[in-house]
């Protein structure tokens, strides 16, 4: 059995006293419960639950089923000793002796008890004992029960001593493309602690997206960015998300305005044109763009980092360099002028391969931010990453990866003379 103690309940037991009644919501099949309400002494029980959307075991009825009380520190030392051995009980007389106020004799079914032992750090500094523990008290004795007290911080700030949380919480990233790679990239960026994500994608979640997208069936028909924003709000509340159901080409003016308040752009959009437009807008705004996609129908993952630096070419220049070297063959149907050709080829890759690319894209974006902030442990080995997903023989260099999961980093190539993106307007 495990009893979960919300922070509000823990605060009351730590500051009030010396005893009171206890109300739990209990999931018997899965053998865990959560404190739902408390009283002070014999007064009425008042709820200590968070709002309904964050409530645990909300579908289980509250049961007034036990007591809480303040006890001597020695009792928690005994709890620790008994917990280490399965099935051990503490004699009822000994339990009673350790409870100076509020001891209740158990009836037939017994009851649950939570004990609070103040001053443990002074009494037993070497044991790191919890100040709140639980018991199942029956006529046979008191059995130690596992507890989990909600800590003050449960978000990304838990990692602040080990990860540059402050810098990333103050970082704003625009993600263009909220599809299979984009949705997983958004989750990964939020997992790294990015403080604000601006999501841009005009599409709605459709049946065929479910096999690869991170959003669930209940979101079908909704805008992908709205569904993703809702998912992230529930899962990663430290990241604020602003959804924009916009097309980066059609609404370039709006995107350009949004870039003024952005530190880096990630593009996971399908097709050549949206990637070119994203790269162009980012460069004009003086921002780094990270572009992620799969090539060869999902056989190869690719991350491009486009920095707005004089020696670094834009997407078009980088593609042209590869094409001139015989490494890349432009797709004539996709690489067409505005208003012609097809927008993108239908996705055939498996979802988890796309999510692997997404994780690498997010890492590239975060490493770019952190290197600029002075973290040498986040420097990347290059500007262009190739990841083998379903390697095939005889691909031209630099795509000639030898194995699946092989990762190859390449440098940037310079701008090509006359490029309208790389050269100043």
């Amino acid at each position: 059995m495990l009893i979960l103690i919300p922070q509000s309940a823990a605060a009351i037991m730590r500051s009030s006293g010396p005893w009171g009644r206890l109300s739990l919501r209990i999931n018997h099949p899965e053998r865990f419960a959560v404190v739902r309400g408390l009283s002070e002494r014999g007064d009425g029980i008042f709820p200590v639950e968070p709002p309904p959307e964050h409530r645990l075991l909300g579908s289980y009825p509250p049961v007034s089923t036990g007591w809480w009380c303040r006890v001597h520190a020695d009792l928690h030392l005994m709890w620790l000793a008994l917990s280490a051995r399965r099935g051990m009980l503490m004699k009822l007389d000994a339990f009673k002796a350790a409870v100076p106020n509020g001891y209740k004799a158990p009836g037939d079914p017994g009851y649950w008890a939570i004990t609070h032992a103040p001053g443990l750090k002074d009494a037993y500094p070497e044991h790191n004992l919890p100040d709140l523990v639980a018991w199942h008290v029956t006529r046979e004795g008191a059995q130690p029960i596992s507890v989990s007290v909600e800590p003050e911080a449960t978000g990304i700030c838990q990692l602040k001593d080990h990860w540059p949380v402050h810098e990333l919480q103050n970082t704003r990233i625009m993600l263009i493309g909220a599809g299979s790679i984009g949705s997983a990239t958004a989750h990964a960026l939020a997992g790294y602690g990015i403080g604000h994500l601006t999501l841009v994608d005009p599409d709605r979640l459709d049946w065929h997206n479910l096999v690869r997208h991170t959003s669930a069936r209940r979101h079908i028909g909704r805008s992908k960015v709205t569904a993703l924003a809702e998912d992230l709000a529930a899962l990663r509340p430290d990241t604020t998300v602003t959804p924009w159901a916009l097309d980066v080409i059609e609404h370039a003016d709006q995107i350009r305005a949004l870039l003024a308040d952005t530190h880096l752009v990630v593009c996971t959009a399908d097709g050549v044109a949206p990637r070119r437009v994203t790269g162009h807008l980012a460069r004009r705004a003086g921002l780094t763009a990270v572009l992620a996609c799969v090539l060869q129908d999902g056989a190869l993952g690719e991350i491009l980092r486009l920095r707005p630096w004089p020696q670094h070419g834009c997407l078009t220049c980088r593609r042209q360099s590869l094409a001139q070297a015989g490494g890349l063959d432009p797709e004539p149907a996709l690489d067409a002028g505005y208003g012609t050709g097809t927008r993108h080829r239908p996705m055939t890759a498996v979802g988890s391969d796309l999510h692997l690319v997404a994780q690498l894209a997010a890492k590239t974006a975060v490493a770019t931010i952190l290197e600029r902030a002075g973290h040498p442990d986040q420097r990347l080995p290059g500007e262009h990453a190739l990841l083998g997903l379903r390697r095939q023989p005889d691909w031209a260099p630099p795509f000639d990866l030898g194995h699946t999961a092989e990762l190859r980093w390449l440098p940037a190539t310079p701008p090509i003379s006359g490029c309208p993106t790389c050269e100043a307007p």
């Binding site: 003086g286 920095r307 707005p308 630096w309 004089p310 020696q311 290197e371 600029r372 902030a373 002075g374 973290h375 040498p376 442990d377 420097r379």
Partner: protein, 325 residues
């Protein structure tokens, strides 16, 4: 010698002698006081690195800004000959007040030259390459608090705000007491950085403002600085006040970035060595960055090997097998 002691000792080799710094300040203040007595001058203040306490030795020159009353010079501030007129006016005042032969306030200035933005006043023999000079800059205060500065060659007045940088440096220093000393260290470092052409000292100062943290010890801060500066130098180094544009458009950005990257690699290794308790190796690595003036570790009492003169053995650190899932 510990890392902090080594930085303290190195800092002494970078800093200008206190008596020479004091003399430079006295000379600057002489100009400020003398020119403030003029009826058309509303304020005077020191500018340049000495005013920010980020000066590198030797101190050859100091900067003084003379802010004039616009009502006394209504024609100033407009493009045209007034730019040169303002500089000539300042030069006349300097000569009348401070000329070695007949100055009414003091007898210090041996020669004056009108340059593009300032009047260069020689307090030593102008032929002496080490001659000390005071650069007197005429200015008009604008409504937003910034200045208009005459530019002789282009016969125009250009906006500038040197007090903004003074304030930014002071603010950083208030937060973190190592800032100004390390700016001097970085200005010294730039003199040996392998880049094409020179690096203006202001480039290093502005990069330090942008990339140096406001907390931590000097080792960690330099590691952060070199890493961040290697990236940010590619973005250009711009006047922090946003008025004067790029500070050195002809800077070898790629070369300086490479130099910063190399320094960042060494600094990272130095910090790791220090964290492992290998102070001697950390000192050697800092010495690689800053040169022989950075204190070397004390020589061992007895040679560790019969073969002398071999480089220190740096062993790779094994990874702990402590899996986490």
């Amino acid at each position: 010698m510990g890392i902090d002691d080594a930085f303290d000792a190195f800092q002494k080799t970078v800093n200008e002698d206190i008596d020479k710094t004091r003399l430079a300040r006295e000379r600057r203040d002489l100009f400020k006081t003398a020119l403030l007595s003029e009826p058309d001058v509303v304020e005077t203040f020191g500018s340049g690195s000495l005013s920010r306490s980020t000066q590198l030795k030797p101190i050859h020159d100091v900067d003084v800004v003379i802010v004039y009353d616009p009502d006394e010079h209504p024609e100033w501030g407009n493009d045209g000959p007034s730019a040169q007129d303002a500089l000539e006016h300042a030069r006349t005042q300097v000569n009348r007040l401070l000329s070695q032969t007949n100055g009414t306030h003091a007898n210090e200035v041996r020669h004056t030259l009108v340059r593009n933005h300032a009047v260069k006043c020689f307090l030593d023999d102008p032929e002496d390459p080490e001659a000390f000079t005071v650069d007197v800059m005429a200015a008009l205060r604008q409504e937003d608090g910034s200045l208009l500065i005459p530019e002789k060659l282009n016969t125009r007045w250009v906006p500038a705000n040197p007090e903004y940088l003074i304030g930014q440096v002071a603010d950083h220093q208030r937060d973190w007491p190592h800032f100004r000393p390390l700016v001097r260290v970085l200005k010294q470092w730039r003199l040996t950085a392998p880049v094409q052409g020179r690096i203006k000292s202001l480039v290093m100062e502005v990069l330090a403002l942008n990339c140096m943290p406001r907390f931590g010890n000097r080792s960690q801060a330099l590691k952060t600085f070199f890493t961040a500066a290697a990236v940010r130098v590619h973005e250009g180094v711009w006047d922090p006040a946003g008025l004067c544009g790029q500070i050195q458009p002809d800077l070898d950005h790629a070369g300086l970035s490479d130099a910063f990257t190399d320094a960042a690699d060494l600094a990272e290794r130095a910090c790791a060595a220090a964290a492992e308790g290998d102070t001697d190796n950390a000192l050697r690595l800092w010495q690689k960055i800053f040169g022989d003036d950075f204190p070397a570790p004390a020589a061992p009492a007895k040679p560790a090997s019969l073969i002398t003169g071999t480089p220190a053995l740096i062993t790779a650190r094994p990874i702990k097998d402590a899996p986490q899932g």
